[in-house]
């Protein structure tokens, strides 16, 4: 680490074949990579692999039975369904908000911009009880909605509200920078060629924003499927009706049913890993589209 000539043993060949070989100039490769791999394995990879190993200790049949029990299947439908819906709603309103923040002037704009990140900073349990108080029968919004026959708190609709809350910043914060960097020349060219404003948006602006919108959608969706804290207070948690998948894991754990809990966790892990790969691909696509990185 102290000498400039130090290079990691065994890794002197560079990652990709190149026309010239790049000598490792900067020191500290071996210790930093070593520590990174050690820390990553110890805290993330080994613990996560425990889920897979554990879920098959009682054979595949036990795993399958636990992962596909009717109550668990109902929870998948609920979790994935509400998460998809919440992410879709966030794509629409996230785009509108990002557009407003980039293109329009309005009083309190700085404040709105800063508060968009609130769901990242506010503890999920706090969000959960606040949304429940707001939408319960005697809450500010519940009071208005319940006479109209719309019950939000303690129904799947409440889950949707909580998932919209936690997913919104993902869409706004992925679309906003792309909108800011977009050259107005493209829109000017479209306008000078006679396009209507809507046509310009539909055929020029939207294709540029598509990778960012998809990335934001995927991020919001991934977060929503695993979300626990903000949902359980408002969900009502009725079996087969409003039990989300993470809650199923908790209730299995509380019954000391480790096989069941681990099987569901393994399903969720596989899903989140696949989604992570999709998100990485989308971000790479988005980066190429917009010429960054």
């Amino acid at each position: 680490m102290t000498t400039a000539t130090l290079s990691a043993p065994g890794v002197s060949g560079t990652a990709r074949p190149r026309r010239w070989t790049r000598r490792r100039v900067l020191p500290g490769f071996a210790p930093t990579l070593g520590f990174t791999l050690f820390y990553l394995s110890l805290l993330v990879l080994i613990p996560l692999s425990a889920v897979f190993l554990k879920s098959f200790t009682h054979g595949f049949d036990a795993f399958w039975a636990a992962a596909t029990a009717p109550r668990v299947l109902a929870s998948y439908r609920l979790s994935f369904g509400t998460s998809l819906l919440a992410a879709s709603i966030n794509v629409v309103f996230g785009l509108i908000l990002a557009w407003s923040l980039v293109r329009y002037e309005f009083p309190g704009k700085k404040l709105v911009d800063a508060l968009i990140d609130l769901p990242f900073a506010l503890p999920t349990a706090v969000a959960g009880i606040a949304l429940t108080a707001l939408y319960a029968g005697n809450g500010w919004l519940g009071k208005l909605l319940e006479p109209m026959g719309i019950k939000v708190a303690f129904t799947p609709l409440g889950i949707l509200v909580a998932l919209i809350f936690i997913g919104l910043p993902f869409v706004v914060r992925t679309v906003q920078p792309v909108l800011e960097d977009m050259e107005t020349e493209l829109e000017e060219a479209a306008a000078s060629l006679g396009a209507q404003r809507w046509q310009t948006f539909r055929h020029v602006v939207l294709p540029i924003l598509t990778p960012a919108l998809l990335t934001g959608f995927a991020l919001a969706f991934a977060r929503a499927v695993g979300e626990y804290g903000s949902v359980i207070f408002i969900a009502g948690n009725l079996p087969m009706v409003s039990e989300i998948t993470p809650l199923m894991i908790i209730s299995k754990l509380e019954q000391y049913d480790y096989v069941g809990a681990t099987a569901i966790a393994a399903v969720m892990l596989v899903f989140s890993f696949v989604l992570l790969l999709v998100i990485n691909g989308l971000q790479a696509w988005s980066g190429r589209r917009n010429g960054v990185r």
């Binding site: 102290t2 000498t3 560079t14 990652a15 900067l26 020191p27 500290g28 490769f29 930093t32 990174t36 791999l37 820390y39 990553l40 805290l43 993330v44 996560l48 425990a50 889920v51 554990k54 309103f93 908000l97 557009w99 407003s100 293109r103 329009y104 002037e105 309005f106 709105v112 800063a114 508060l115 968009i116 609130l118 769901p119 990242f120 900073a121 503890p123 349990a125 706090v126 009880i129 606040a130 949304l131 108080a133 500010w140 919004l141 809350f165 919104l168 107005t184 479209a190 404003r197 310009t200 991934a222 695993g226 979300e227 626990y228 993470p246 809650l247 894991i249 754990l253 892990l269 990185r293």
Partner: protein, 279 residues
């Protein structure tokens, strides 16, 4: 900047379109972000300042604050060191499998917090891999403070690395290589060249991971065991009060966390502004 958008006929919408979009966006913002935030404070103060203050100075609340601080004080520096190491290895060197490593570092973000808590039960719980050994040596990890710290480390794992890796990649290696060629040691290069370049990104990552450490609920809830005054962090304390129908007290403690969240947003804004200034 946005003024010019509205002065340019090619990037301008009809006033009614602009007004409807703004109305929709801000209405959505008010409904889903602003009202919940206001609710926390309104509900916390519903029974007056006496109840509010009493909820915050009660011994169990103080114990929860202490434990929450402890978890953050351990997990944030650990992940800071990790983030710097990972960013140095990934951004300043070439090696095979780099993309896979970055994906693995991101993994804790996409894992459900409940699953994150579960893995430590599988490892250190009574029926876990190391459970019998821990019991034989009279050590307790799960349902005790170490488990809470571990879960917090897990959920805050990627924040610093994630901020630093793209930043250091974008800055390239020229400055560090120049310093090294001129005879600076690795440490000197890092402290005098790299660190000043990335300090705002670093601080940004620390602020975000600190906020998450204070607020984590799902993962900590699974490993905590919910022993009042011993293994309750602030968010868990909020849950207990809420489930005991002590709504005013629950929202009082929650408002403390909401204040921390607002402080986080202010700091974040400040760091973003400074980063832009120095760029």
């Amino acid at each position: 900047m946005s003024k010019s958008y509205q002065n340019n006929p090619a990037t301008r919408e009809a006033p009614w379109v602009r007004r409807s979009l703004l109305g929709l966006g801000l209405g959505f913002f008010t409904l889903f972000l602003l009202l919940p935030l206001i609710t926390v404070f309104a509900e916390g103060l519903r029974k007056g300042w006496d109840v509010y203050i009493a909820a915050l100075v009660e011994p169990d609340a103080v114990a929860a604050v202490t434990l929450t601080l402890l978890a953050a004080v351990i997990s944030v520096p650990l992940n800071l060191v990790f983030g710097v190491c990972a960013a140095w290895a990934v951004a300043k060197h070439d090696f095979r499998g780099k993309q896979l490593l970055i994906t693995f570092i991101d993994l804790p973000f996409s894992v459900s917090p409940v699953v994150a808590g579960l893995v430590y039960i599988l490892l250190f719980g009574a029926q876990g891999w190391f459970g019998p050994w821990l019991q034989a040596n009279d050590l307790k990890i799960v349902f005790a403070v170490p488990g809470i710290v571990l879960a917090t480390v897990f959920v805050t794992f990627p924040f610093v690395a994630r901020e630093l890796i793209p930043l250091m990649q974008a800055q390239g290696r020229d400055e560090e290589e120049a310093a090294t060629v001129l005879g600076a040691s690795g440490w000197q290069t890092f402290w005098k060249v790299t660190l000043p370049n990335v300090k705002w990104g670093l601080l940004y990552g620390v602020i975000l991971s600190n906020a998450r450490a204070f607020g984590e609920f799902g993962a900590v809830s699974v490993v905590s065991g919910h022993i009042r005054g011993q293994t309750n962090t602030l968010p868990l304390h909020v849950e207990i009060l809420y489930n005991e129908y002590q709504f005013a007290a629950a929202f009082a403690v929650a408002s403390l966390l909401a204040l921390l969240a607002l402080l986080t947003l202010v700091l974040k804004q400040f760091v973003e502004w400074r980063a832009k200034e120095s760029a």
